[in-house]
């Protein structure tokens, strides 16, 4: 049972509108990037098979579907997350300042059983913009914030150029996998009426 229930890992990506959440997902899963920004429409979740220590897992990466724009992600979005990715734009101060809000919102809504050790990963995106000349958050500052929140792993990425995206998601997958909830919340005999994308999903945290 334990191995089976770990086969599907739910990862959610949070952060201000426009920081590149959808682009990061797309770059990682489809190796595609679109320069044309539109507030997310049509993105739901993407899945990717990952191998880790000879075992195959399905990483299910959930987009905010635009519901983050007015802080209107419902509790259902957060349920059962195995890892939470916080994204900001290194060129926009406010998106960095808001990381704290997103982290707290996650902890309230998902209420993981062990909030201290719940796996977050922080991504500073868009490091390619203007050759790095327009960035307002230094790597040092970002790392200091991550350290103060229980040593959250930190990656600087460019979804546009595909820089560091693979490495970041490998870390995300690894941490999602490590998120072993202390309370076993496996629900046997779960019925999915559609037999769609969520079979064998794990229920990582009790919320």
């Amino acid at each position: 049972m334990a191995s089976r229930r770990r086969m599907l890992l739910k990862v959610i990506i949070l952060g201000d509108s426009g920081v590149g959440k959808t682009s990061l997902m797309n770059q990682y899963v489809n190796r595609k990037f679109s320069n044309q920004y539109k507030a997310t429409i049509g993105a739901d979740f993407l899945t990717k098979e990952v191998q880790f220590e000879d075992r195959l897992f399905t990483l299910q990466i959930w987009d905010t579907a635009g519901q983050e724009r007015f802080q209107s992600l419902g509790v259902a979005f957060y349920r059962g997350a195995d890892c939470c990715v916080l994204v900001y734009d290194v060129n926009v101060m406010k998106s960095f300042d808001n990381l704290n809000h997103w982290r707290e919102e996650f902890l309230i809504q998902a209420s993981p059983s062990d909030p201290e050790n719940f796996p977050f990963v922080v991504l500073g995106n868009k490091i390619d913009v203007d050759g790095g000349n327009s960035r307002v958050i230094s790597e040092k500052k970002a790392k200091a914030w991550c350290a103060s929140k229980g040593n959250i792993p930190y990656f600087e990425t460019s979804a546009k150029e595909g820089f560091n995206v693979e490495a970041a998601f490998q870390c995300i997958a690894k941490n999602a996998l490590k998120n072993e909830p202390e309370e076993e919340m496996y629900l046997p005999d779960t019925i999915e009426v559609g037999g769609g994308g969520r079979q064998q999903r794990s229920t990582g945290c009790e919320c």
Binding site: I41, A43, T190
Partner: protein
């Protein structure tokens, strides 16, 4: 309800013109939002609450209590002087009233575990495995966000105080220990008759005259004993009113409709191999359903803004027609059409409108009729009403509790394996239609007392010590709530309004009302057209591929 008080300030909403603005994220509103988004409409979906679901929400223990006891008043309307439009302030009239909350024991445990509770505001409610709700969840794509579990057993409360199984299949009839051999044969013969009638290859049909007579008369004609009649009418067809009493019966069921109910019930049993009975319940509670439809809508471009009350309507000065809404933030937004949560109305008569403002249609809209009321009750217990059964439904047929009981009572017990309450606790939901608050509450109290022990306040300890000695212990209630909810059905008017939760156990009528509202608003659009899945989206599998996670 998010505890996070220091929310980021919202940017102004952009654009300011929409095809449709919807206020409230209840099930009907969310279904219409998903359907209209799928049809390519531009939609703004607002909710004054910090959570999704409105009257269909599932709330934590503390949020549930405060929702019932202190409904949020609307913030004062922003007064701006120069507007081209007539500004009509909205009134918020909570649909729930007469709340009576009692805590008998372990209050601190309940508070400490508040967030482990997902308590349904509109319970009891469940899905039949083969009903239209499941089809809609598949058709709309909302199913991919949801997981269910089967309700283990369905019971009928018997006047002697026992619980009888609802015999829902041939196997169940055979196994049933409470039916006599004669009763078993009668029931089998009847099921066979219905089966033949529904089977197109069979010649033998129920006559057309019989199809039009009351189902109760047909059952008598078939010489079914009262006990079986009662099970078929109240536990399988789930009718509300005493079918034997012409004066009070407001929902006399015809044979053809009764047969449809039986057909739905029997095709529900066994549709999913790991659902033991006919009913399904969503993991984390009913509130997951509106959220799934809202996510569907968001994926198709619908804009979501929670914590945003609408304070006024903007009406055209000359025509008296709807133009837009004013938000609590002061922003004015415009749309072709508006759907309002049924708890909103306008003051009557309109006091501040200009003298020549044609307000007749608006006045008419505000006087929509309330279709009756439903009493709802909730109990939290430490043990199950039936040993070794976690999730079950119970129907109390009319007159099973006392002779004056004219309506049936529906009840649902949900346990921790559905992630709605902490380990070692159970939530029981009760509902019945009623004419007034006292009648409804008395019925529910009788239903609770029949299966549970409600300690007398201040006397908790002695009750529990007495109870623990006896073998046949009724579960002791830690906490209970009773409230009365108005019944309002969605309405297509100058301003459309959505439906409140109804008195049924399933969602069929609510879905029909939502679909009807959608078709009235968008007569040229299909209700959830069959979509070609984009490569980005996970393939949604064919609708018949009902694979299960067991």
């Amino acid at each position: 309800m998010s505890e996070s008080q220091d929310l980021l300030s919202y940017p102004p909403i952009d654009p300011v013109n929409f095809d449709l603005i919807i206020v409230g994220t209840g099930l009907s509103e969310s279904i219409v939002a998903a359907a209209a988004s799928a049809a390519g409409k531009t939609i703004l979906h607002l909710d004054p609450n910090s959570f999704y679901g409105s009257h269909f929400a599932s709330l934590s223990f503390l949020d549930f209590t405060s929702y019932l006891t202190s409904p949020n008043p609307l913030p004062a309307a922003v007064t701006t002087t120069d507007s081209e439009d007539v500004v009509v302030d909205l009134l918020h009239q909570p649909i729930c009233s007469d709340a009576e909350i009692s805590c008998y024991d372990e209050y601190s445990f309940l508070c400490e575990n508040s967030r482990k509770f997902n308590i349904d505001l509109g319970g009891p409610r469940a899905l039949f495995s083969a009903d239209r709700t499941v089809d809609l969840l598949l058709k709309s794509g909302a199913a991919q966000y949801l997981e269910f579990k089967g309700i283990d057993e369905s019971f009928v409360y018997e006047p002697n105080g026992g619980l009888a199984n609802v015999p829902d299949s041939r196997g169940a009839i055979f196994r049933d220990k409470k039916l006599s051999l004669k009763e078993k044969n009668q029931l089998m013969r009847f099921f066979k008759l219905v089966q033949q009638h529904l089977d197109d290859t069979q010649e033998e049909k129920i006559s057309e005259e019989d199809m039009e007579i009351p189902f109760v008369s047909f059952l008598e004609k078939m010489k079914l004993p009262p006990k079986i009649k009662s099970i078929l009418l109240y536990a399988i067809a789930l009718v509300d009113y005493d079918q034997d009493s012409n004066e009070v019966c407001k929902d006399l069921l015809k044979t053809k409709d009764g047969i449809d109910c039986l057909a739905q019930y029997s095709s529900s049993v066994g549709r999913f191999p790991n659902a033991p009975g006919a009913l399904l319940y969503p993991i984390y509670g009913e509130g997951e359903l509106p959220q799934a439809f809202c996510r569907r809508a968001a994926v198709k471009g619908c804009i979501y803004v929670l914590r945003m009350p609408v304070v006024s309507l903007l009406m055209d000065k000359a025509t008296g027609l709807y133009k837009g809404v004013r938000l609590a933030s002061g922003q004015d937004l415009y749309s072709q059409q508006l759907i309002l949560d049924p708890s909103f109305t306008i003051p009557s008569p309109l006091s501040l409108s200009p003298r020549d403002f044609p307000c007749e249609r608006l006045q008419m809209w505000s006087q929509r009729d309330i279709k009756g009321m439903v009493a709802r009750g909730i109990c939290i217990t430490r043990s199950s009403i039936k040993p070794a059964v976690t999730n079950c439904s119970v129907v109390y047929p009319p007159r099973s509790l006392y002779p004056e009981q004219m309506t049936s009572i529906k009840s649902l017990q949900i346990g921790p394996n559905l992630a709605v309450c902490p380990e070692g606790t159970f939530i029981l939901y009760f509902s019945t239609l009623c004419n007034n608050a006292d009648e409804g509450k008395n019925l529910l109290k009788a239903a609770m007392n029949a299966l549970l022990t409600l300690p007398v306040s201040g006397n908790t300890e002695s009750v529990s010590s007495v109870q623990s000695d006896s073998e046949d212990t009724k579960p002791i209630v830690l906490w209970s709530a009773l409230y009365i909810q108005k019944l309002i059905v969605s309405n297509f008017e100058l301003i459309s309004s959505s439906s409140t939760p109804d008195g049924n156990l399933n969602y069929n009528d609510l879905l029909d009302a939502a679909e009807k509202l959608f078709r009235q608003m968008f007569p040229n659009e299909e209700f959830f057209p069959k979509v070609t899945t984009s490569p980005e989206e996970p393939t949604d599998e064919d609708d018949n591929g009902l694979t299960l996670d067991s």
